[in-house]
């Protein structure tokens, strides 16, 4: 069992209250930061820790902070992205529900590091209970003097607000989130300018994921160098993984990055193996938007080494044989699951959630959904697979925000690795409606990535 930093005290009764949280060492990082460190020290410490954004892209947090423009006389903002709505990801909700003060403390320390006097937590609209929990926690922190004017006698002021969103997936994209926070339609902005230069209300803004901000607390407590020792290579620290699907023990697990995927799935400390003694078919390793991988490729790299749970190892092999850590939504499919149906489900989600601003995504996601719907219902054609690959290629990289890429990758990868199953749906239109295909004939030799002619 690896070391736990975020969820160490998760099973302590009453950890959601300020009293118990403080008994377990809470708000020590805040006191240390505000009394003994300057904001530059804090940024330096986060840089040393090597913490990478936990929202999906994996951009180094310390680097993001150091890009923040600091013009005189202009307010700066820190916005926490709690608009978690990727299918398969539920770690932020878990963290906010059971240990809200970890996020609040992280927000105060991070705001202090960035020099922000107003900060926002943008929570997805469907998470009403979590919004209430956070507001209660903020009220408690304010009463204890951790928020408001002159925090702990340091002269530093901070107001923290919780903003419910309208429940749109697209508002998890940072510029769409800022638009929504400003009270406008949640359309992603065209970059540049990046939020670090002109974000919320045109002021320099940092947008961070819930888990990234909560991870600031242990980093300050133990020091950046110490934190960087956990993990492997450039993937430092611990990561929350939302494990779901056909496993014995679904739930949120905190792992040290660098754990092998095989251990994570089969070890009793984590997922506990595939449910009902079935065999592993495929894994979506980082939430719905990352490429799906068949069992042989998720457990082992193309060269036969074991694949690890880390940013680098999961993306080893590019999009031919690799995937991404993403936001850590680990969805396991056993031999009785249909990859075709799963792909259609994801495509339907992206078609529904596209904002409709730029043409390739607006039209292309709907097109892919319709073709996949036809395939799932046994009415597909052999040419549909090539059509899907081509449409996915025309969306990918040509859109304003990454939603287009996120819609294209799962479809393209499912066809790359499971083409025989798609073909079986076409060849057996009636049988495919009654029974499932079973285990895939694993791609051997490895498929070649399609290139644009």
């Amino acid at each position: 069992m690896g070391r736990k930093l975020l969820l160490e005290h998760i099973n302590v009764p009453g950890i959601n209250t300020l009293k118990v949280y403080r008994e377990k060492g809470g708000y020590k990082a805040l006191e240390k930061a505000i009394k003994t460190m300057s904001s530059d020290d804090l940024v330096e410490e986060v840089k040393k820790s090597g913490l990478r954004g936990r929202g999906g892209a994996g951009f180094p947090t310390g680097m993001k902070w150091s890009f923040l423009a600091k013009p005189e006389g202009v307010a700066r903002y820190l916005v926490c992205n709690a608009d978690e709505s990727e299918p398969g990801t539920f770690k932020d909700r878990y963290l906010m529900t059971y240990i809200p003060h970890a996020l609040i403390e992280g927000m105060i320390v991070s705001s202090f590091a960035l020099g922000a006097n107003t900060s926002y937590i943008y929570v997805r609209g469907e998470m009403m209970p979590q919004i209430r929990i956070l507001e209660k926690a903020i009220a408690e922190a304010k009463e204890a003097g951790f928020l408001g004017k002159n925090i702990l006698g340091s002269g530093y002021d901070l107001e923290l607000y919780v903003q419910p969103g309208g429940g749109a997936y697209i508002c998890g994209e940072e510029t769409a989130l800022l638009e929504s926070l400003e009270g406008k339609r949640g359309n992603p902005r065209i970059k540049p300018p990046f939020p670090a230069i002109a974000g919320l209300y045109g002021c320099p803004t940092v947008v961070n994921n819930v888990e990234s901000i909560a991870a600031i607390v242990p980093i300050i407590n133990m020091g950046g160098d110490e934190y960087a020792k956990i993990g492997v290579g450039r993937s430092t620290g611990t990561k929350l993984i939302s494990a779901s699907g056909n496993i014995n023990k679904p739930g949120v697990y905190e792992i040290e990055l660098g754990l092998s995927v095989e251990d994570f799935i089969y070890s009793d400390d984590y997922c506990g193996g595939i449910a009902n003694g079935k065999r592993l078919k495929a894994v979506v390793a980082g939430g719905s938007s990352v490429p799906i991988l068949p069992a042989n490729l998720i457990l082992n790299l193309a060269n036969g080494e074991k694949r690890l749970m880390s940013y680098e190892s999961l993306s080893e092999g590019g999009f031919i044989t690799g995937t991404m850590l993403g936001s850590g939504g680990f969805v396991v499919l056993d031999e009785d699951q249909s990859v075709v149906r799963n792909t259609w489900n994801f495509a339907r989600f992206y078609s529904h959630e596209s904002c409709g601003q730029c043409s390739p995504c607006r039209e292309g996601t709907g097109w892919m959904e319709k073709v996949l719907h036809r395939l799932v219902n046994g009415k597909g054609k052999m040419s549909d697979m090539d059509l899907l690959v081509d449409v996915a290629k025309k969306i990918e990289g040509n859109t304003i925000c990454p939603l287009g890429d996120a819609a294209a990758w799962p479809v393209a990868s499912a066809i790359r690795h499971f083409r025989d199953e798609f073909e079986w749906y076409v060849n057996n239109p009636e049988l495919s409606q009654k029974q499932n295909y079973g285990l895939a004939h694993y791609a051997d030799p490895l498929p070649v990535l399609e290139t644009v002619e």
């Binding site: 749109a168 697209i170 339609r185 065209i190 078609s351 529904h352 959630e353 596209s354 904002c355 409709g356 601003q357 730029c358 043409s359 390739p360 607006r362 039209e363 292309g364 996601t365 709907g366 097109w367 319709k370 059509l387 290629k393 025309k394 990289g397 040509n398 859109t399 304003i400 644009v452 002619e453």
Partner: protein, 334 residues
């Protein structure tokens, strides 16, 4: 800022002001290398970046940072840097991506050009003609919408809309108060007046001119005639609310339609008011300046092609001649 930036587009060097977008730099060069733009409108602040037809490849970022940009960029919203090298029609990747975008724009378009008043001056028609495929690969029902009546002057056909947002920007920036916007999300997004309220103010008619397709058309011209049977004539009048500089569209002695004057990129030179557009349809309301020069490519000019030759910029540039080989050969055959 009097700084001049050097930029090379498809091998043609030019110098532009700092802060110019790639698209505007290309427009200064002119000719075939100008990327098509369906949503960008130079007179409307904040427009552009949405339709993705103007994608180009930046093969060299700038003199300081010569790395190429990793993805194709929207030329209308990307500013030039000193020493930047851009590929438009010389890059197969761009041509391929543009073809993809045009296909996407057309899959839900009703293609009802035979009964559409915009036919003949429709940017989507031009775009489809130039970059589209012969046949669609889309085999599903096209998207439809509930019909909305947005007043007695402007006709809305939501099925033809490509969601360029230009009319929304007009409503936002030209007219007094914003009365329409986008409802819904994704491929259900639609242009609508809030609470189905009619657009009612002096400059609302300009949404017709900025619309690149037939989604917003003139009700007073509806089904009167095809564009290519009418004769455009430049005229002006003393108007208290606008500049009064317009184009009159004649059929015989009768003025069928009044529009603002458009430049070579299809953009309105000066916005006009609703009185000029809808109410002044007699020759004696206007001072006639003379016939309007019609672009060689326009259908209004059909059967009167003076010469069929590639544009001047192409002739001078070897790289471009290669890219336009097919067109060039066809042209010389004639």
């Amino acid at each position: 800022m009097a700084d001049k930036f050097k930029v090379t587009i498809d091998g043609i060097p030019t110098e532009v002001e700092a802060g110019t977008s790639i698209l505007n730099a290309a427009r200064q060069i002119g000719g075939d290398i100008v990327p098509p733009a369906m949503c960008y409108y130079s007179k409307l602040e904040g427009s552009g970046g949405k339709c993705r037809t103007c994608l180009v490849k930046v093969s060299k970022g700038s003199e300081k940072d010569p790395r190429p940009m990793p993805k194709l960029v929207a030329s209308c919203r990307t500013n030039v840097m000193d020493g930047m090298e851009v590929q438009n029609i010389t890059s197969p990747e761009v041509v391929e991506a543009r073809k993809g975008v045009v296909e996407m724009l057309l899959i839900n378009h009703p293609l009802d050009c035979p009964i559409c008043d915009q036919a003949g001056e429709c940017h989507l028609q031009d775009l489809g003609y130039e970059h589209g495929a012969e046949a669609t690969r889309y085999e599903f029902d096209r998207r439809t919408f509930e019909k909305i009546d947005i007043g007695d002057k402007v006709q809305l056909h939501m099925t033809r809309c490509i969601l360029c947002y230009r009319c929304v920007f007009v409503a936002d920036q030209i007219t007094q108060k914003r009365v329409h916007g986008i409802l819904g999300r994704g491929d259900h997004a639609e242009i609508s007046t809030y609470i189905e309220k009619a657009i009612d103010n002096d400059f609302s008619g300009n949404v017709i001119d900025v619309c690149p397709v037939g989604a917003l058309t003139d009700k007073t011209f509806r089904f009167k005639n095809r564009v290519w049977f009418t004769k455009p004539v430049e005229a002006h009048r003393d108007c208290p609310t606008c500049s009064g500089k317009v184009t009159l569209w004649y059929k015989g002695e009768e003025v069928l339609r009044v529009t603002a004057r458009k430049d070579e990129f299809g953009e309105v030179e000066e916005f006009i008011c609703n009185t000029c557009r809808f109410d002044k349809k007699a020759t004696n309301d206007w001072v006639i300046e003379g016939p309007r020069k019609v672009s060689r490519h326009s259908v209004i000019n059909s059967n009167h092609y003076n010469e069929l030759q590639p544009a001047q910029v192409v002739k001078k540039n070897l790289e471009l001649q290669e890219a336009n080989k097919e067109q060039f050969e066809r042209a010389t055959k004639f």
